[in-house]
């Protein structure tokens, strides 16, 4: 369970988020510019909230009152970026294992062979990211995030930069992911159909506000 209750200032724009995300896909749904990426940034630890508290399975990641602000590398939250951010100097395999190698063996919950099978990456392992299609790159990015054995997964518009055919190609993988990976997954999107098809719960983001219950 990921519990988020934070606020921050982006210029003269206030971003506030108060919601919980349980195992399964929770969509953060709203138009671009509504503050969705800032919210993910606060959870991942790359944007500092002004106030509030974020806990993951009861473990505080950020707590303004207690002065807790874990660095991204200590949060155990996998992030799939819209722009994928694969390491250009590493092979697909090197990318997949980057986080895996930095996870203590006793904390590992995912095995490379399972993830490679789940995302059908076997034929790509020796290739360089630059030689892959956008959809293939996105599958590698998802695999890389899962192989760090995260306790929650954040996906920032993973389909937004893909054309319709690539989207259709990657959608079944996301559905499979939802069924097989028992993690809270926060899925940011501005696409209604995507959200309707994938998400079990939806949190609307409007003008920098993301609340899942009135109050």
């Amino acid at each position: 369970m990921l519990e988020v209750n934070v606020a921050t200032q982006r210029g003269d724009f206030t971003v506030e988020a108060r919601f919980t995300a349980d195992v399964g896909i929770t969509a953060l749904f709203g138009p671009s510019g509504a503050g969705k990426t800032s919210i993910l940034g606060m959870i991942a630890g790359v944007v500092r909230p002004r106030t509030g508290r974020i806990t993951l399975h009861g473990r505080p990641l950020f707590d303004a009152a207690a002065g807790i602000d874990l660095a991204p590398e200590h949060r155990r939250i996998g992030v799939v970026f819209q722009d994928r951010r694969l390491f250009p100097h590493l092979s697909v395999e090197g990318n997949l294992l980057y986080g895996f190698r930095r996870t203590a063996p006793e904390r590992r919950t995912q095995r490379p062979e399972d993830i490679v099978a789940l995302l059908e990456l076997g034929a790509l392992l020796k290739r360089r990211p630059a030689s892959l299609s956008g959809g293939e790159q996105q599958r590698v990015a998802i695999g890389r995030a899962l192989l760090m054995s995260p306790e929650a997964l954040l996906m920032d518009e993973p389909l937004a930069s893909l054309d319709a055919r690539r989207k259709a190609e990657i959608m079944p993988y996301l559905e499979r992911l939802r069924g097989q990976i028992r993690l809270p997954i926060l899925y940011v999107s501005h696409d209604e159909r995507e959200v309707a098809r994938l998400a079990q719960r939806t949190v609307a983001v409007v003008d920098g506000r993301a609340f899942d219950s009135p109050g």
């Binding site: 790359v46 991204p72 590398e73 992030v79 250009p88 995030a145």
Partner: protein, 233 residues
């Protein structure tokens, strides 16, 4: 083809030695300064940025004279080196290394700074979310991605060091076997009747070293461009 004399070989060997040590010595300094300029915001940045380029535009003789004032027997740094380590650098090959390093530093810093600025910070952020701390991120993402640029800067500054003349002759003079590098030897030959041939031979060697340096740095820069190419197509 080239009939090099023993004293030519002395000059070539000394030049290469001075070039190598000047690159080894200035690489950490250049990297530190380049990192500061590429990544850290501070109040005096424009001043530091300009000061670093000074050796590139100052008359080399001025740089040599300043080095002599600082590192000479009675200069503040020279006295300390003498008292603490019993080391003299003025009029020694070690002084030639210092002169070459100072003159080559701007080229190296420009190269490294550029390559660091080309590294996509978003990749570093991705590494952090994957569990790598700041140092590990540096060694596994930032450094490998900027390495070709660092090598290109080093090669260019090596070529520059091998050919350093003005600052070197002012600071450490022109002593055969000790501070007489290739340019000094060319200069000496030209002062002597019948020395044109020797000057020409060594000039060809100089051109060869410079060409190799520039080609190597060009190859490395292409590699850098290819590696840091953003593949968000």
């Amino acid at each position: 083809m080239l009939d090099l004399s023993p004293s030519d070989w002395d000059a070539i060997a000394l030049s290469l030695k001075v070039g190598a040590w000047s690159v080894i010595g200035s690489l950490p300094v250049a990297f530190g300064l380049a990192y500061l300029l590429a990544r850290v915001e501070f109040a005096l940045k424009p001043v530091v940025s300009a000061a670093i380029l000074l050796p590139l535009v100052l008359p080399p003789v001025v740089v040599g004279y300043m080095l002599l004032l600082a590192f000479g027997k009675t200069g503040p740094v020279g006295q300390l080196l003498d008292q603490w380590f019993g080391v003299t650098v003025a009029f020694r090959w070690t002084g030639a290394v210092i002169a070459a390093a100072v003159m080559g530093l701007p080229l190296m810093i420009i190269g490294i700074r550029l390559s660091l600025e080309l590294v996509d910070r978003r990749l570093e952020m991705a590494a952090r979310t994957l569990g790598a701390g700041p140092w590990r991120t540096f060694f596994t993402v930032t450094l490998p991605l900027s390495l070709p640029g660092i090598l290109a800067g080093a090669v260019l500054s090596f070529a520059r060091s091998v050919g350093e003349f003005g600052a070197t002759i002012t600071f450490v003079s022109n002593i055969p076997g000790d501070t007489r590098t290739i340019p000094m030897a060319i200069h000496t030959s030209l002062q002597m009747p019948g020395g044109n041939e020797a000057a020409f031979r060594l000039s060809l060697v100089s051109i060869a070293i410079a060409l190799i340096g520039i080609v190597a740095s060009e190859v490395l820069n292409r590699r850098l461009a290819r590696m840091t190419a953003r593949d968000d197509a």
